[in-house]
Amino acid sequence: MTENGKILSIQNLSTFFDTELGVAKAVQDVSFEIEKGKTLALVGESGCGKSVTALSIMRLIPTPPGRIESGKIFYREHNILEFSEKQMRGIRGNKIAMIFQEPMTSLNPVYTIGDQIVEAITLHQKKTYEQAWSMAQEMLDKVRIPDPARRMSEYPHLLSGGMRQRVMIAMAISCKPSLLIADEPTTALDVTIQAQILDLLDELQQSENMSILLITHDLGVVAQRADDVAVMYASKIAEKCSCKELFKNPLHPYTQGLLHSLPQLGTRQKRLNTIAGNVPEPLNFPSGCKFHTRCPIGCNDKRCQTAEPELKEVSKDHFAACWYAPGYEK
């Protein structure tokens, strides 16, 4: 059971995929909570399991090959993993809405933009077609699509990448969800429109008390919009704390490497810093701490190579999964 202020509480979520080569453990033992009206940013390396976590919340993991192996996902006080598909349909797109990472995968190429938003609206709200149509047009205007009346009758392939992304955003917020899962919502937008879209989400957050799970690799966006941050690495959460704390006092070597890799504007770097080595594969995770192969401390450390550190609270509200994080009880 969750307390009053939490809209979402994920407990020990594990999601696996059965592949020809074995079981890909894409998400393991992930826990986090989001309070009403707050934004939690989920960051981490490409392939670390962010989208799979999001799709698990939406109950949209393709099964087979995927399955939610274990864990609980509480939306308010309901464990939605126990919901029937019918119950889930009442929530999905309505109470919990998602902006998908790749717009073209979720926009239907044979329907016009207008029809698709209208459908999203009428599915959950009692509106006539005409009412929904004008609401849809209003939404397009809100996400700053120029000439929305014309765009309503266009097909997705005629839109630019950023316009498609904004159509997705319009669809997702048309039902005023209480939880919005935004998977890389602004990657195709220039910074001025990005700022406007994020402001729009802020507004909704304030007027409707909407909560946001923001998946992004843009640490600038994280810094300015998130209340809390969870950093994932190779299927698990490596570090979790308030946004301020993360930038001021990153404790996990992976988080430190990430912050260090940022291109610095105005410095004319010859080369960018990177974290040496490659992201491990779910089918082939290293032993011990999954980061040890790339970690400046762990690469030569027996403990790191053999034993996996759990996520523990190392100081108030600051969690890390690293044997050498200051404050970590071994």
Partner: protein, 319 residues
């Protein structure tokens, strides 16, 4: 023509008809690319930034001869490639490759990763048999994936992994010009940095030339020698990268630079400006509808792209 120039674009226009009614009558045009000119020297990187929907992807696809140009010229190695027939395009296709913006829709879901990357190599008869497999494996490693991925399908990968498959495919044929449309926007910073370093290394090694489209201005600054800024189908500013970032001239460029979210917590809400995107492109300067310093003249007349300092062009009456 200066033979140090690999790509020269002159007055390029790509307009799409707007059709209406049962008879699909053409009632107007979306001037997606409207009279742009620029050139890219051999072995350098030309960054293209601009507002969403300003025509960057359309320009890129027109240059690669994937969409029909309405007007203008595109010289590749001194030869105007716009009039070339389909049959003559094959040699161009090997020299110009493209990394697409939307990795998901540009990778055939029914093909394995190996065959996706092998396809251009086979078409252009560059490699076969075990040499082909070796090459694919090397390419995958270069973009931070592994040879073990060869037999897997695109849907089994995350967004960023799919983007890297697209990069590997584009580099497979050893092109001269690589058009990168948002190649790193789906990647986290550490992989992004790896890919950008890789693109730079390959450039040095093979003297590659890049046309690089991106929204992340710090990425563009890092990779580019020259940067052009697009707004509503037009180029509003072109300058050497350093200069553009230090002394932006066009009000839209200034707006862009000021809106970059910096990774410093609590600088919340960078949007100190109000802006409305108009229904139609205004009659005068394309930016006049949003510009903080526009006056009546700006709204009526189109400012020409003029050289305001050596190598630094801007299209604004007030700079």
């Amino acid at each position: 023509m200066n033979n140090n120039i690999l790509l020269k674009v002159e007055n390029l226009k790509t307009w799409f008809p707007i059709k209406k009614g049962l008879l699909r009558k053409i009632i107007g045009h979306v001037k997606a690319v409207d009279d742009i000119s620029f050139q890219i020297p051999h072995g350098s990187t030309f960054g293209l930034v601009g507002e969403s929907g300003s025509g960057k992807t359309t320009a890129a696809r027109t240059i690669a001869r994937l969409i029909h140009a309405t007007g203008g010229k595109v010289y590749f190695n001194g030869e105007n490639i716009l009039p070339l027939h389909q049959s003559e395009l094959r040699r161009i296709r090997k020299d110009i490759s493209i990394v697409f913006q939307d990795p998901y829709s540009s990778l055939n879901p029914r093909m394995t990763v190996g065959s996706i990357i092998a396809e251009p190599l086979r078409i252009h008869k560059i490699a076969k048999g075990s040499e082909l497999i070796d090459r694919i494996a090397t390419l995958l490693q270069k973009v931070g994936l592994s040879a073990a991925h060869i037999n897997r399908y695109p849907h089994e990968f995350s967004g960023g992994q799919r983007q890297r498959i697209g990069i590997a495919r584009a580099l497979a044929v050893e092109p001269k010009l690589v058009i990168c449309d948002e190649p790193v926007s789906a990647l986290d910073v550490s992989i992004q940095s790896q890919i950008l370093n890789l693109l730079k290394d390959l450039q040095e090694q093979f003297r590659l030339t890049y046309l690089f489209i991106a929204h992340d201005l710090s990425v563009v600054e890092f990779i580019s020698d020259i940067v052009a800024v697009m707004y509503l189908g037009k180029i509003v500013e072109i300058a050497p990268a350093v200069e553009l970032y230090e002394k932006p001239l066009h009000p839209y460029t200034k707006l862009l630079l000021s809106a970059i979210p910096l990774p410093v917590p609590e600088r919340k809400k960078s949007t100190a400006f109000v802006s409305e995107i108009g229904q139609e492109a205004p009659a005068g300067c394309p930016f006049s509808g949003r510009c903080p310093i526009a006056d009546g003249f700006c709204c009526r007349e189109i400012p020409p792209l003029e050289e305001k300092a050596p190598g630094h062009f801007a299209a604004c009456f007030k700079t």
